[in-house]
């Protein structure tokens, strides 16, 4: 099997920095959507689950893979939908701001 390489540690540390500098700029206003968004994104563990469920390494790993695929898919599907639902609600009072995707009448 594969060994853990130093390169992966680089990737982790650099991604952590990117995350840190990006997320410190997210306003408190959007902290709940941020949470559901990162949750949906980290459901990328679906990628590992898919390989496990399809690799045919015996009945137990396949079943565990099936449960893992189900759990991760719940987060992918539900997570992105609910994030979108929340972000859709945030509207400005003035009409000058850039048009929100999807449009819709404003008060």
């Amino acid at each position: 099997m594969h060994g853990v390489s130093l390169l992966e540690l680089y990737v982790f540390i650099l991604a952590g920095f990117v995350g840190f500098f990006t997320i410190t700029r997210v306003p408190a206003l959007l902290h709940t959507p941020l949470m559901s968004a990162t949750n949906a994104i980290s459901a990328i563990s679906l990628v590992g689950s898919l390989v496990l469920a399809g690799a045919d390494r015996g009945i137990l790993p396949t079943l565990l893979g099936f449960v893992a695929v189900t759990s991760a898919t719940i987060n992918v599907v539900g997570g992105f939908i609910i994030t979108d639902r929340m972000l859709k609600m945030f509207k400005r009072a003035d009409r000058k701001g850039p048009a929100a995707p999807g449009g819709g009448a404003r008060p």
Partner: protein, 462 residues
Amino acid sequence: MNPRDLFIEAAYVVASILFILGLRSLTLPDRARRGMQLAALGMLVAIVGTVVNHQIVRYEWILAGLALGTVIGYPLGVYVPMTAMPQRIAISHMFGAVAATLVGVAEFYSLGQGAQVERAQMAALGFEVLFGALTITGSFMAFGKLQELLPSRPVTFPGQNLVSMAMFVAAVVLFAWLLVEPANPRAFYAMVALALLFGISLVLPIGGADMPVVISLLNSYAGLASSATGFAIGNNVLIIAGALDGASGFILSIIMSRAMNRSFRNVLFGAFGAAPKASARSTQGLAVHAITPEDAAIQLAYARLVIVVPGYGMAVAQAQHQVRELASLIEKNGGTVLYAIHPVAGRMPGHMNVLLAEADVPYDKLKEMEEINDEFKNADVALVIGANDVVNPAARSDESSPIYGMPILNVDQAKQVIVMKRSMNPGFAGIENELFYGQNTAMLFGDAKNSLTKLVQEVKQG
């Protein structure tokens, strides 16, 4: 590298870029929605890239899992009301951790019960199942408390911290043993079991008001578990997405703990269970001044600047729509209404913002604490709806108070304060609030939704 592997790697790079762009878009509310759609596209690209992996030889279980997950996930996305968002987020941390943990367990199992696991990979697997398992049970307990299946007050028993610490130390010792000798299935599964138990004992003693910290922390752990999965199976997109999630949860827990004046160490070890005892300073002998909805309505009708301070009580009463209605009436009378949002108001980061946005309150009226604290002295009325600790002046003045040093909203500087509260019972923490006895404070007792409905009627007539 053959064309197929090249395609897979390219898909993962594209997915990683789209994830980062998606998170970046959350810095601007107007662009956020489009950005997250890009992130969802990134997820699709990653999935498509994965299913062509040469290790995958059969698709029936994959399709079954994808179908079942969609059937469960879709209603969880579409129908869960905004008021249930904290428990919704808590349970989703559990699902994420289940996926990561099971991948780790299966990896260990299928590599000859650890016999073919190198030490470095064992380190990754160990972190994966440790973070994963404690997040599974911890998030489930948090869900139970928020959904009120479990008591939301702290559940404690004598020697609890000792038991928790013992479990944690035992799990770490087993982990160390596995690093020396990976082919040790008993130690591995015992470690998983201990981490599961530790997750329970970590969250059980934590009360409802501390939930913002716990949820953020579990968010971070779920991300780290995903990232460790990436190390264990050698997949960079998992490492990147997990690191982003881990960083996000970590930052949120720091922001939350700062807003509660808890130390950083406190956050990391989650030792914030002990319920503070009542404040030394007594409010005995002081009298509160109750106000009728009629009188409160008159003050609101003539106010030029009203600052609404929402708290968990507003969420419980689901009164956000009535708040919006009242604000519209005040604005019609020529007044201005702003909203002061304390970082830890509610049960999770940003809880109040989501509820008020749902009620069509424009987001430029939702002000963060630093932004609005200087405005209170200009406010004619500060309307406190179901908030308690975040407006308690004891945090500024009373060194013996358990919340001393916590940054609060300067509600007491407003010309008139109207506090909506069900009764004079002290809040969750059992701390008396001097604000309620202030010269310029009037108490409007009753359910927030009922009181607001009455206020709306009165202002309409007046």
